[in-house]
């Protein structure tokens, strides 16, 4: 469809090592009129964002030429990240942690998908900053739940604090600081 210059679509970064699931999530997201970039690993996702595990400032300067979402308004490239949990190498959880530890990207909503219904896994992801946890196979009804998280990004972007406590899940989880006190920069795993 032809986009008018002023109309920007939400851009979702989808991460899944399964080719079939990538095709599926891409179609689901496009059906909902999102722009989609699909990659097959956590490291490729970080690369796309311009985070390669090194100092963020260096990365931002050096990645001007590379294919990445990083530009002067670094958050505008990607509005939401949806990632599979079980992936070889970097898991979706590892990716979630890296995103949340990044000063540039920690406010991007992250959604985790998994074929396995393991409550401790789900809770851990939600506690560590995931907005939603979808059981695979992901359906259109799941993707419809993304919109509020994307809309939140637009209205509160300028007001967003580093300690926004939006959380799914019914438990009162009072972690003192959602961003773990350890890191301001990325750590190479």
């Amino acid at each position: 469809m032809g986009n008018m210059a002023t109309q920007t679509q939400f851009h979702v970064l989808a991460v899944d090592d399964s080719l079939i699931d990538r095709k599926l999530i891409e179609r689901l997201l496009k059906t909902s009129s999102y722009q989609v970039t699909a990659v097959d690993s956590g490291s490729k996702a970080l690369e796309f964002l311009g985070l390669n595990g090194e100092n963020e400032d260096e990365e931002r300067n050096s990645s001007v030429e590379s294919v990445s979402a990083a530009d002067e308004d670094h958050q505008v490239g990607v509005n939401l990240i949806i990632t599979d949990y079980c992936m070889p190498g970097m898991t979706g959880y590892d990716l979630l942690r890296k995103i949340k530890q990044s000063s540039s990207f920690k406010d991007i909503p992250v959604v985790i998908m998994s074929s396995e219904n393991i409550p401790s896994r789900i809770n851990r992801c939600l506690e560590d900053g995931a907005e939603e946890f979808f059981l695979k196979p992901v359906k259109l009804s799941d993707v419809n739940k993304l919109r509020p998280h994307l809309m939140k990004g637009i209205t509160t972007k300028t007001e967003m604090q580093s300690n926004s406590n939006k959380r799914k899940g019914s438990e009162e989880i009072q972690s003192p600081d959602r961003t773990r006190p350890r890191y301001n920069e990325l750590e190479v795993v």
Binding site: S18, L19, I20, D21, K23, S115, K136, P137, L140
Partner: protein, 150 residues
């Protein structure tokens, strides 16, 4: 019109795939993602599934020849197979892969091998039926197949 009997045949074939438990509602989710702009979406996904499955079956066959069996590796491979089967709604294949993983969990070699043979049979049957189904759908034409009853 000649196409009507074929449409009925297609609908009947489709219904039997669900009634006989080869496919579950996830396949319907795929159908809902198919439209005029993406008229072959379901078949495209299923074709990817065949390719992916061929690779996994080959790897599983090889892994099952090793002595002793590496149950962790077998489980990892079957986890992938289960995932993709689940994503297209391949109900019986998914059930066999779940069973296989149970046997892996308990280190039951015979159970694994028996279940894998059964899984391959189910997969072959499903593939044959789906190939027939899509062949017929293609003959009928994109306009008609987009109007399939849900």
């Amino acid at each position: 019109m000649e196409r009507n009997p074929m449409r009925r045949q297609l609908a009947s074939l489709r219904k039997s795939l669900f009634d006989q438990g080869y496919l579950d509602e996830q396949f319907m989710e795929l159908e809902q993602l198919q439209d005029d702009a993406n008229p072959n979406f379901v078949e495209e996904v299923v074709t990817l599934y065949y390719r992916d499955s061929a690779r996994l079956i080959l790897n599983l066959d090889h892994a099952l020849e090793r002595r002793p069996l590496d149950f962790s590796k077998l489980d990892g491979l079957m986890h992938q197979f289960k995932g993709s089967s689940s994503s297209i709604g391949a109900k019986k294949v998914k059930a066999e892969s779940t069973l296989f993983r149970e046997y892996c969990k308990y280190g039951n070699a015979e159970g694994c091998m028996r279940t894998f043979q059964q899984l391959k049979k189910e997969y072959a049957t499903l593939r044959k039926k789906l190939e027939t189904y899509f062949q017929l759908a293609r003959q009928i034409g994109p306009m008609e197949s987009a109007n399939r009853p849900k």
